[in-house]
């Protein structure tokens, strides 16, 4: 029964190749992650009356509270400040919860991963999809606030979709990196949990990068690129081309890093769980 074969005959495909195959295969399994993501949302809000609208409601309350209080603090009219805050929080909430949940992607699926083969990225896409659904629901709040404040979306508003697409393109590799890192070093989830609230305060969400120093701080912050590329076009402050380039650069770096890391440790995920 035993067979001795030469190494060459059964040469494994390269690790990098296997990583790319996993991403493609995972994407092709869209009915799977689409359904898993939807079931996740359903289970998270089961028997809560409003269902996933709870997340929308809490977003509305947060945006209203912060908008009203900080407009006083900064001495800015609510009608211009509230749309700014609601758009910033809209993108930030999505970004932050996606990054936080990314840490758990493989760890939470330990039992299944140790019994069946599933393309690893299926689980990453599922978490992204789940957060994207909640983002879609939150958009109703954004639309409501803009209407309430009489803010007409600027002609360049459709560019916000390009900003959002770029954000998604960056969040996929970022999620994958965090998911991989947490499998090996569980502390990563704790670090992310600590870092995110700080990230929210140092990023221009509640405040405007109005002075040159503040602008310098903002322009070194990838979170700012993500938010401004969605917020700016809608509020009629079209982001400069340099900002698009910086964001695209971040996406390219993240994609390259994720591909290398995934290639290097994809086959070790189940060993580390």
């Amino acid at each position: 029964m035993a067979a001795a074969r030469s190494e060459a005959e059964w040469r494994r495909p390269s690790r990098l190749r296997a990583a790319i195959d996993d991403m493609v295969e995972g994407a092709r399994h869209w009915p799977q992650w689409f359904t898993l993501g939807n079931i996740d949302i359903k289970l998270r809000f089961r028997r809560s009356g409003l269902g996933p609208l709870w997340s929308t409601l809490s977003f509305a309350v947060l945006a209203a509270a912060l908008g009203l209080v900080y407009s006083r603090l900064f001495g800015e009219p609510v009608a211009t400040y509230l749309p700014y805050v609601v758009l910033g929080l809209f993108v930030w909430g999505f970004l932050a919860s996606t990054l936080q949940e990314a840490c758990d992607v493989f760890v939470a699926a330990e039992h299944a991963l140790k019994q069946y083969y599933v393309p690893r990225t299926t689980l990453v896409y599922r978490a992204l999809w789940r957060n994207l659904v909640l983002l879609g629901l939150n958009f109703t709040v954004v639309a409501g606030v803009l209407a309430l404040c009489g803010t007409r979306p600027a002609p360049a508003a459709p560019l916000a979709l390009a900003g959002l697409a770029l954000l998604l393109l960056g969040l996929f590799p970022a999620s994958l990196l965090l998911a991989l890192a947490t499998v090996r070093f569980r502390a990563v989830a704790r670090i992310v949990q600590t870092a995110l609230p700080i990230g929210m305060l140092v990023t221009p969400i509640l405040w405007r990068p109005a002075t040159p120093e503040l602008r310098d701080v903002a322009e070194m912050n990838p979170f700012y690129f993500a938010i401004e590329l969605v917020r700016g076009p809608i509020l009629g402050e079209a982001p400069p081309p340099l900002l698009w380039a910086a964001a695209a650069g971040c996406v390219v770096i993240l994609l390259a890093a994720a591909l290398l890391a995934f290639g290097a440790v994809r086959h070790r995920i189940t060993y580390w769980l």
Binding site: M1, A3, P31, T35, Q115, Y116, W272
Partner: protein
Amino acid sequence: MSAIVLDRVGVRFPLFGARARQQQPGASLSVGGAIAWSGRGRASVVALDGVSLTLRDGDRVGIIGHNGSGKSTLLRVVGGVYEPCRGSLHVSGRVLSLFDPMLGMSTECTGRENVVLRGIFVGRTPRQALTKLDEIAEFSELGAYMDLPLKTYSTGMQLRLAFSIATAFEAEILLLDEQFMAGDAAFMEKAERRLKAFVARAGIVVQASHSEQLIRDTCTKVVLLEKGRLAMAGEPGEVFARYRETRAAEAVRAR
């Protein structure tokens, strides 16, 4: 045509956090794989070591061995859970693992949703999974319960459903870990018939078990693992003879 070829497959599990005390020289363990130490005091368990095996269509293979001899690990390597650390693996044919009957199921979801969930984990789309719904509802005799959450089921009913779903999705290669069967007596008989028919349709079946009777009844080949190494592979009769010999020898040594 399904086939499984393992060539000098080795699997080692790193031990994190457990910087276990280095084993005393000379101490020998009768259970579990060997513990390997790297220069820096890092430990890993050698679960499989140099296992070569070729299985072809029609093979019914039983894996036997002590606790921790690597039976489950071998099944999981073939199932694609663990990529071998050394050596290579070649599998052609769709693989289905029957390890945990409740895998991927959620007690908060309805029976119908669980058919979909489970289908997803065995690589089916939700639509493909739902084509099996009627058949599963009929075999499990759960009827109207299919639209209620699993937590309203009794334990026996949950297992009925789990078993019916698990054996609804066909595969060329079946991997069975021991203790897959369960349920009430009347259902057991019915389940056994279904499992037999299900297994008969597969190209290759690999099962790990401690039950000599079960393996003699269902397998044409037996593989004996000892501490992660393939000690012997062949006809059930001769392999079991060898297995009993080594156990007797160990019992003498232990005295």
